[in-house]
């Protein structure tokens, strides 16, 4: 059964990339515990609009935890405190009447703030451009069942492929590293026979791109895994490291 709660919100406001930004405090009244976190922000925004103020900008789209658009740091944790949950899937029943909630954008060198809670995550696209694909042109594929893939392998590949590209792992990492994100893609494709021919080139190129995009190094803090809404495991980081080592030693493309 739903209840109604009252909250105090401290939200980061920043007009644009050049604005230094600051926290503003808002009272959120009559919040139903059945609301999602984003619906709670909608309610706050509707009120701001009617009061003639600018609503809080935040990215979102699917509101069902799959597009990777949403995300903010809630009380110090990207996507909030609930494990395995995107911000859009975090419901207000996980907060208590009278709580104060601090909401700020993902912070990382590679993710400059654009406005309020909206950040620029295009660096993740650039990482993908460095090799997050199998080079196959439309029309050239063989019959799908000519290449069997053991089902447990396919399942593990799928575990890695579940990454939604939200960037929370970067925001959670003290070094702002994109290692979990990158390793998820490397691992997904390295586990499948389709991805093997380019595996060495892919891992080296993507690791290089991480540096070029301004992401930090991984020093095994494991914050990323704790934060990831899709519970991507750091096992994939280990696999990336193995692949990189192999590629570094063996590949002529070093």
């Amino acid at each position: 059964m739903s209840q109604s709660i009252r909250l105090t919100l401290k939200i980061w406001r920043q007009k644009g990339p050049a604005d230094p930004g600051r926290f503003e405090t808002f009272a959120a009244e009559d919040i139903s515990t059945d609301m999602s976190f984003l619906e709670m922000l909608d309610v706050v925004n509707e009120k701001l609009i009617l009061e003639g103020r600018e609503p809080v900008a935040f990215d979102h789209d699917c509101r069902e935890g799959i597009c990777g658009s949403c995300g903010a740091v809630v009380n110090g944790r990207p996507h909030g405190h609930l494990r395995g949950t995107t911000l859009c899937q975090l419901h207000m029943r996980h907060f208590r009447d009278g709580d104060t909630i601090v909401i700020e954008p993902f912070r990382a060198r590679a993710f400059p703030v654009i406005k309020d809670l909206v950040v620029d995550r295009s660096a993740l696209d650039r990482l993908m451009q460095a090799g997050g694909f199998v080079s196959v042109n439309t029309g050239s594929a063989p019959e799908a069942n000519t290449l069997p893939v053991p089902s447990d392998r396919a399942e593990r590949a799928m575990d890695a492929a579940a990454c939604i590209g939200c960037g929370a792992c970067v925001a959670a990492c003290p070094n702002a590293s994109a290692m979990l994100f990158t390793s998820a893609k490397v691992s997904h494709l390295a586990l499948l026979p389709q991805g093997r021919p380019e595996a060495a080139r892919r891992v080296l190129s993507m690791v290089r791109a991480m540096d070029a995009c301004g992401f930090g190094n991984c020093s095994n803090h494991r914050e990323c895994e704790m934060t990831c809404p899709k519970e991507i495991s750091i096992v994939h980081i280990a696999r990336l490291n193995r692949e990189a080592l192999k590629a570094g030693f063996l590949s002529p493309e070093r």
């Binding site: 059945d34 999602s36 696209d125 069942n145 579940a162």
Partner: protein, 637 residues
């Protein structure tokens, strides 16, 4: 306006081959001289951009999101169909074709649907080669399941994340072309209009969502893959940014809009729980393979589900449709759910829900099997509702989900505006009056990977296209109109928010142009929509500035278009005096309350031509001929 579907001659199975042979080819060295503007990066747009880039065209690709990977397609759960017949259960291209035509209640073109079925297998091959991690059998070969409205297993899936995995495949291919310099990406851009020069689509006007600047882009052809318009209803399973703007602008520039009243209401969604609700969440139809739908036999029975004994439950789909049971097509299932709730048998706090129960399946197969099949869906359900579906039955209710209507296209996927091609959910092509499950992904990818690469080439090679540049007066004029609209939206400064007005519009459509329609209701709705539109332009409040990231303004522009477009949906529903598929007019039903088609008068596509601001649009008809699937009353008994 003349509607020429350009269906090639010859026997059905050879039409596409023959057409491909007859289409002119663009010399490989010349391809890079053609600039192609692709709008949208869902399955249709991403696959088209990647494939055209691979061929050597110069592609510019636009999307609203910060990254192409976030397009609405990412949310598709259940799967994608193909006629591989791996399970050896009797499938074939012909059967997939047949089922799709019949499932669409005979309001789609046979030739298009046949081509779709033919291409379906190549899509699976290609996606597997890209590394899409489809579910597999223990032997390592691809697994299939049966899915909404099919009696055989032809659906390929990747857990409950099929759309995500297919889109990541297409997005990867797109990123590869971006890296190769063949595609230039313009994310966070919203196309506000199509630029027409000498009768041909030659460019787009875009708003840079980061700073509000208006940009003009010129090209030799424009490809719209902007998705469906389900968000006209405010509440739907579509992502929040899904909109009709680009398609509606194209309509106003001369592209006919086909069958706008054909909308799909999906039976299995999480019920509405409050007025603040911002969207509805689909529970994949695959759940109907194992879940059993029921309500209490007695109206007003408010006991919790586990206290209602077996004998006092009505498994109404199994009872009414013994051969399809819980797997009847979506339109049939949705209407039946509504009917039960209208009779007072609905469950839950609002009475607008029915149970979808897994207790029998868990008893039969064990919890582990059910968890493996549906784990992430159950989890999602629990996150949203706080209920555990392993313990207590899910509650579901229908919600707006998909739009079969869209811009009219010929066999080449070109609209009535020359040079404007339309792919994916944005066109009207293959699903008639009702789409079968797992066939939208198939269609989007067929359009993008395997149709547009040929038909666009045919157009470019066979058309003389004089050079244009963004300094052409048509660009400046179109951009000025877009700026003017933005200025007007910001100027109103009224007392109601965009969302408030959008919600109200949505309720009008849901009540009168939703699952069940009447002539009186539609007429009322039309008047109400006109009033709301008036109110919108006089009383909306859009804060902030035009030259800034302004999400309220983005929404306002989209809702302004929905306010106009909704009337076209209603007009179309009023003009089609029959019931078919998702369009159910209560005056036309069989004794068993099924949709009664009128093939004498309505066996056609209705395509609407914009006729100017103060004039009624003109309704054109493209007759549909069924030579291979005999016109019959659908029966799922």
């Amino acid at each position: 306006m003349r509607l020429d579907a350009k269906i090639p001659g010859g026997p059905l199975p050879q039409k596409w081959d023959r057409h491909r042979f007859e289409l002119k080819l663009v010399n490989p060295a010349n391809k890079r001289k053609f600039d192609i503007l692709v709008v949208g990066t869902g399955l249709a747009g991403a696959s088209a951009s990647a494939s055209l880039g691979e061929l050597g065209y110069n592609v510019k690709t636009f999307c609203i999101h910060d990254s192409p990977r976030r397009a609405h397609s990412i949310a598709a759960q259940g799967g994608i169909n193909a006629a591989k017949n791996y399970p050896n259960d009797g499938d074939s291209i012909w059967r997939l074709f047949y089922d799709t035509v019949k499932g669409g209640d005979f309001r789609a073109r046979e030739a298009n649907v046949y081509r779709l079925a033919q291409i379906s297998n190549a899509i699976i091959d290609h996606c597997v080669a890209q590394g899409v991690p489809f579910a597999r059998e223990y032997g390592g070969l691809l697994a299939n399941r049966s899915f909404g409205g099919a009696q055989l297993s032809r659906t390929f899936y990747a857990r409950g994340q099929t759309g995500q995995q297919l889109l990541l495949g297409a997005y990867g291919a797109l990123m590869r072309q971006v890296a190769a310099g063949r595609v230039r990406l313009f994310p966070r851009r919203e196309i506000l209009d199509i630029v027409v020069v000498h009768g041909k689509a030659r460019g787009v006007v875009a708003r840079n969502l980061l700073n509000g600047e208006i940009e003009c882009h010129e090209g030799h052809a424009v490809v719209l893959a902007t998705g469906g318009y389900g968000n006209a209803y405010y509440l739907s399973t579509n992502a929040k940014a899904s909109n009709v703007t680009a398609a509606f602008r194209a309509y106003k520039r001369g592209a006919a809009f086909a069958n706008p009243c054909f909308t799909q209401i999906h039976p299995t969604c999480i019920p509405v729980h409050g007025t603040y609700q911002s969207k509805l969440t689909l529970m994949s139809e695959s759940l109907r393979n194992d879940g059993r739908v029921w309500v209490p036999k007695r109206a007003g029975d408010k006991r919790p589900p586990h206290q209602i004994p077996e004998a006092e439950r009505d498994y109404f789909l199994e009872r009414k449709y013994p051969s399809f049971g819980n797997l009847v097509p979506r339109d049939v299932a949705s209407r039946n759910v509504k009917e039960q709730c209208d009779q007072g048998k609905g469950v839950g706090e609002t009475g607008l829900a029915v149970y979808l129960d897994f207790a029998d399946a868990i008893r039969r197969d064990g919890r582990a099997v059910i968890e493996r099949k549906y784990g992430n869906l159950f989890q999602m359900y629990e996150k949203i509702t706080g209920d555990d579906p392993y313990e207590t039955p899910m509650m579901i209710y229908p919600a707006v989900h998909y739009t079969m209507g869209g811009l009219w296209v010929d066999y080449n996927l070109m609209s009535t505006l020359e040079g404007l091609f339309v792919l994916g959910e944005a066109n009207f092509s293959d699903h008639g009056a009702n789409r079968l499950g797992a066939s939208a992904l198939m269609q989007g990818l067929a359009d993008g990977y395997f149709i547009i690469p040929y038909t666009l080439g045919g157009y470019l090679a066979g058309t003389s296209l004089e050079p244009v540049s963004a300094s052409d007066p048509a660009f400046a004029a179109t951009a000025r109109e877009a700026e003017e609209r933005i200025r007007r939206l910001l100027e109103v400064n009224g007392r109601r928010t965009v969302d408030e007005l959008h919600r109200e519009l949505g309720m009008v459509l849901w009540n009168h142009c939703g699952m069940s329609r009447t002539n009186e209701g539609l007429a009322k709705a039309r008047a109400r929509v006109q009033e709301l539109r008036e109110e919108f332009w006089h009383n909306v409040r859009v804060p902030g500035a035009g030259r800034d990231l302004n999400q309220s303004l983005e929404k306002a522009g989209r809702v302004a278009d929905f306010m106009e477009f909704a009337e076209l949906m209603i007009l179309d529903a009023l003009a089609r005096q029959e019931s078919c598929g998702g369009h159910f007019n209560e005056a036309y039903q069989t004794e068993e309350n099924e949709a009664r088609r009128d093939d004498e008068r309505y066996c056609h596509v209705a395509a609407w031509e914009f006729a100017g601001l103060e004039r009624e649009p003109v309704r054109h008809e493209e007759p549909l001929v069924f030579e291979h699937v005999p016109l019959t009353q659908r029966s799922y008994k």
